[in-house]
């Protein structure tokens, strides 16, 4: 019996202790007519050897294409030590540290994580994580609505330059709480949030403004101006950042005159594999005065009976297991294992190593963009500085081009046409520090050939012969 240790003698001894004659009698409180029969649609069990073979085949079937997609998930180098340590059983198979004295490993690690995140973001406090970047934005908005007591409108400005999947997730999560989400357009020349459009809301009752940096286009926003606008208009400012690139970029705690109120985002670049989009790591940091409105677990330092330093869950009066219907959120778990990986990653890399990694990705994307733009019919769309992603206009249908590239085992970028039809034929590309000169060169050559062929044969071929 997989994973069940009982011998036949064990079972007999246990049943006789309980005073029943079969395991089935232990289910005698369940009405007989409710019980299900055999689960015929579920196949019979496999041994570890058999499932290993199946999973190897399936993993291999997906190939390992050269990945030039970013769009919220980035293929960075992960030091071997990160997951060697994170999957130690003592981290991997522990649970939420309710018994603090038997969980000092996890608790101290989470405290170190909170310290690292506040150092990176320039904020006062951090929680111990949320599900992912998108849900962290939603939770930040709910938090802002609670924190901004002067605002009555429950109106939140979301820039169109924020990740489209984040905007959709926010919609799903806040939609039943009578919060109005207003989209702020971007400037079509620069790809930055349009400050003139934002100014049309000046003087209105706005609860919060979301400020992405870099934005979905890879473009660097005028974060100082946006943060100051929020301050001047009584809105809570919510930064949505990539923590790795903020080893270089100005921390949100220093944006504008006084810094943002809340800072959140996706921690995946900190040592977490792409793994089909999850589990990742949502983070949220804020100013000290908002800490009681923050959702999720928070760890605090304290002392034991002898005055020795230790760590424990704190401010639990915000949480669902205490406050029930009055909790700040229904969130129960955090992403403990992902935080473990991210903390080890940040310790290994340090501020300088992270800055170098981010800079290398920035430089690599610069090289990629330069190479691709040397092809006829490929050009950058926005005339703004970018960090490690860029939107390229291509003189061909993105869907077909990307499909042809994929047939050559190159994932050539994210097709912008569905979410941003106003941009025309455009793709979002990214080259992290892991993409080699050779891969970039090969991407360029393949794209060149495909573009040339499409130029000659603009009608989509029924069967792609590439």
């Amino acid at each position: 019996m997989p994973f069940i240790p009982h011998t036949a003698d064990d079972v007999n001894r246990m049943l006789s202790s309980i005073g029943v004659d079969s395991i089935e009698s232990l289910f005698d409180e369940i009405p007989e007519d409710l019980k299900c029969g055999a689960l015929d649609a579920i196949p019979t069990g496999m041994s570890e050897m058999e499932i290993t073979e199946l999973m190897r085949q399936r993993a291999a079937a997906d190939g390992q294409p050269a990945c030039f997609i970013g769009a919220g998930a980035y293929d960075h180098h992960i030091p071997a030590a990160v997951w060697e340590l994170a999957t130690r059983g003592e981290f991997y198979t522990a649970y939420t540290p309710y018994q603090a004295e038997a969980s000092q490993g996890t608790l101290q690690l989470l405290y170190e994580y909170q310290s690292m995140m506040t150092a990176l973001t320039g904020m006062d406090v951090s929680n111990a994580s949320l599900y992912d970047g998108a849900s962290a934005v939603a939770e930040s908005i709910l938090m802002a609505v609670r924190a901004n007591r002067k605002s009555k409108s429950r109106r939140v400005l979301l820039p169109r330059s924020l990740h489209p999947a984040y905007r959709k997730t926010v919609q799903t999560i806040v939609h039943n709480q009578k919060i109005e989400l207003v989209e702020v357009p971007f400037d079509s020349a620069t790809g930055k949030t349009d400050l003139d459009a934002l100014d049309s809301y000046s003087g209105d009752d706005i609860t919060a403004l979301v400020v992405p940096q870099p934005n979905f286009f890879g473009v660097l926003e005028n974060v100082d101006a946006l943060t100051s606008w929020a301050k001047a208009n009584g809105a809570i400012s919510i930064a949505v950042i990539n923590p790795l690139v903020h080893a270089i970029l100005k921390p949100p705690g220093e944006w504008g005159d006084e810094g943002v109120d809340i800072c959140c985002g996706e921690g995946q670049p900190l040592g977490i594999p792409l793994s089909s989009g999850g589990p990742y790591l949502g983070f949220i940091c804020c100013r000290q005065q908002h800490v009681r409105q923050m959702p999720g677990r928070i760890i605090g330092g304290t002392e034991d009976l002898d005055g020795k330093r230790g760590y424990a869950l704190t401010l639990q009066a915000r949480e669902q297991h205490i406050r029930r219907s009055k909790a700040t959120s229904n969130i129960c778990t955090n992403q403990g294992l992902m935080v473990t990986a991210a903390t080890i990653y940040m310790a290994l890399l340090g501020g300088e190593g992270m800055a170098q990694t981010a800079a290398a990705a920035h430089a690599n994307t610069g090289r990629l963009v330069e190479k691709l733009c040397s092809i006829d019919g490929v050009d950058t769309l926005f005339d703004s500085p970018v960090f490690h992603e860029s939107v390229l206009r291509i003189n061909a249908t993105p869907k077909n081009v990307l499909r042809s590239l994929a047939a050559h085992n190159v994932l050539g970028g994210y097709d912008m046409s569905k979410e941003y039809p106003e941009l025309g034929d455009a793709i979002l590309v990214c080259a992290t520090e892991k993409r080699t000169e050779q891969q970039i060169e090969s991407f360029r050559d393949k794209l060149d050939r495909i573009m040339n062929r499409q130029a000659k044969c603009p009608v989509t071929p029924k069967f792609d012969q590439t």
Binding site: H6, D62, D75, A94, T96, T169, T172, S276
Partner: protein, 484 residues
């Protein structure tokens, strides 16, 4: 010592950063940091040693018996981790095209099918990232269903007083008012109380079955009929699915929406508090509202289902498709169990719980529901010990740590005084259960003869009992360098 306190200016794990320095000239000075972030400056070996030592300060399933009620702390097979981390899975970008995702999507599709069969629900979406998000999804679907019918008067969700705190918190997040109903002394819901609150305002009810008091709700069909007759829907909190896997299915009980905690029932790691995965299943009437994306199969290849195919979906819950790598682990576990293994999960979890309850009551401890069968868990109430010996449940719990046993869940459910919610799971051997009984007896013996040993426990942990009040009053939430 914190990793920060081991920092030496200029020290680095040099192997981990790209070799050449890259230019940043295209990034305006005004957008860059003035000072580098104050992160630890340590070598690779220091880092490895530090976190290895930290890990050794944890109790975990791999090191200790961990009978935390309602959390299903069972063995997490190593094979599930190894295979889910295969490079082809770990490196797959969430936006990889279907042409480069068939292997992964096959696993997701089959997992959907397995979960449908084992729960008796019509369709399943895997995307919720945790149990609480699964609950949110379920209630949001119920709301969407009533809204689509123009039935906007329904503003209340009924929740038993013994429910997990996530239930009422979820109902509020979805814009509902919470109506609590009482649990009877035999552990079942008070049906008269239910009838009193049911009405045209009822949007639905959230139930856990077996319930959080560790017994099977015997009149579940009657409850389902009453709620349906009132126009409400039933939500099943899958926290205790381990108890009934392959025995009885939420779909057959009459539930319309359920979530499953794969980190419990399907043995994915708890990871120090997540990540979980909380797939949802629905009855016929809620299918249009399921969250996206899902995977379909046309007999030839696998496709993603999105808004296009599901225009009434409540939407997406995370940026991509949920906690994919957790889902892979659950899939691998389910494949290893197979249909016969799933039934055994419920059988042996129930056997272990009833055996342990029997031994403990024979040893003189008081079960909260002695007349009932335990499900996969049961409750002891230590109110007698608290009254006669002045030893609280918390004292018992802390002393257990000294004996190498993680404490069961304490003080939940809230309606039972001085309670311990004990869930041994199917993967523990009877010897471990016998040892737990001995530990409980030893602690009671100590409480009778040297109570201060118990009230000041633990003594053998890295720290003694911690001051939670100080932690909350004098907030210390991060390390700060001496200079700042």
């Amino acid at each position: 010592m914190l990793i920060f306190e081991q920092s030496q200016s200029g020290r680095r794990a040099t192997a981990q950063a790209p070799g050449s320095a890259a230019s940043l000239e295209s990034i305006p000075e005004s957008l860059r940091r003035e000072q580098p972030a104050v992160l630890p400056e340590v070598s690779e070996m220091q880092t490895v040693r530090h976190y290895t030592r930290l890990s050794q300060k944890n109790f975990s399933i791999d090191t200790h018996f961990y009978p935390l009620g309602s959390c299903t702390m069972k063995y997490n097979p190593r094979g599930c981790n190894t295979l889910a981390m295969l490079p082809g899975f770990a490196a797959r970008h969430p936006y990889a095209p279907e042409s480069h995702s068939q292997g992964f999507m096959a696993c997701m599709y089959e997992l959907q099918e397995i979960l449908k069969e084992v729960t008796g629900m019509r369709e399943v979406s895997l995307t919720p990232a945790a149990g609480a998000q699964g609950e949110f999804t379920g209630i949001a679907m119920i709301k969407a269903y009533h809204d689509a019918k123009g039935d906007r008067e329904r503003s209340e969700i009924i929740v038993p007083d013994a429910a997990h705190g996530t239930n009422p918190a979820t109902a509020v997040m979805c814009g509902y008012k919470v109506r609590e109903i009482l649990t009877k002394r035999d552990g079942d819901i008070d049906i008269d109380a239910l009838k009193n609150v049911l009405g045209p305002r009822t949007a639905g009810i959230m139930l856990t079955n077996p319930s959080t008091v560790g017994v099977f709700e015997r009149r579940i069909r009657e409850i389902a009929d009453l709620v349906h007759q009132a126009g409400g829907l039933l939500y099943y909190d899958g926290a205790n699915l381990n108890a009934i896997l392959g025995k009885v299915r939420p779909g057959d009980m009459g539930f319309d929406a359920i979530h499953m905690n794969l980190h419990k029932t399907f043995s994915t790691p708890h990871g120090g508090g997540g990540p979980g995965a909380g797939p949802v299943g629905v009855s016929e009437r809620l299918i249009p509202y399921l969250p996206i994306p899902m995977v379909s199969y046309d007999g030839d290849s696998y496709q993603w289902l999105t808004e296009t195919e599901h225009p009434q979906t409540i939407g997406q819950l995370t940026a991509f498709s949920g906690n994919a790598s957790v889902l892979l682990r659950a899939y691998i576990y389910a494949k290893m169990l197979g249909r016969e293994g799933m039934v055994r999960v419920a059988e042996y979890a129930t056997l272990n719980a009833n055996y342990l309850m029997k031994l403990l009551t024979e040893a003189g401890f008081q079960a909260a529901y002695p007349e009932r069968r335990a499900s996969h868990e049961f409750i002891l109430t230590l109110k007698k010990e608290a009254k006669e010996l002045g030893i609280s449940t918390m004292d018992f719990a802390k002393r257990m740590l000294d004996y190498g046993v993680h404490a069961p869940t304490t003080y939940f459910p809230l309606l039972i005084p001085e309670c311990l919610l004990i869930e041994p799971t199917e993967t523990e051997s009877p010897e471990d259960l016998d040892n737990f009984v001995e530990v409980m007896q030893k602690i009671r013996h100590e409480a009778e003869h040297q109570p201060e040993t118990v009230t000041s426990a633990p003594h053998r942990m890295p720290v003694k009992r911690l001051d939670d009040v100080k932690a909350a009053r004098e907030l210390d939430l991060r390390w700060q360098s001496q200079e700042s």
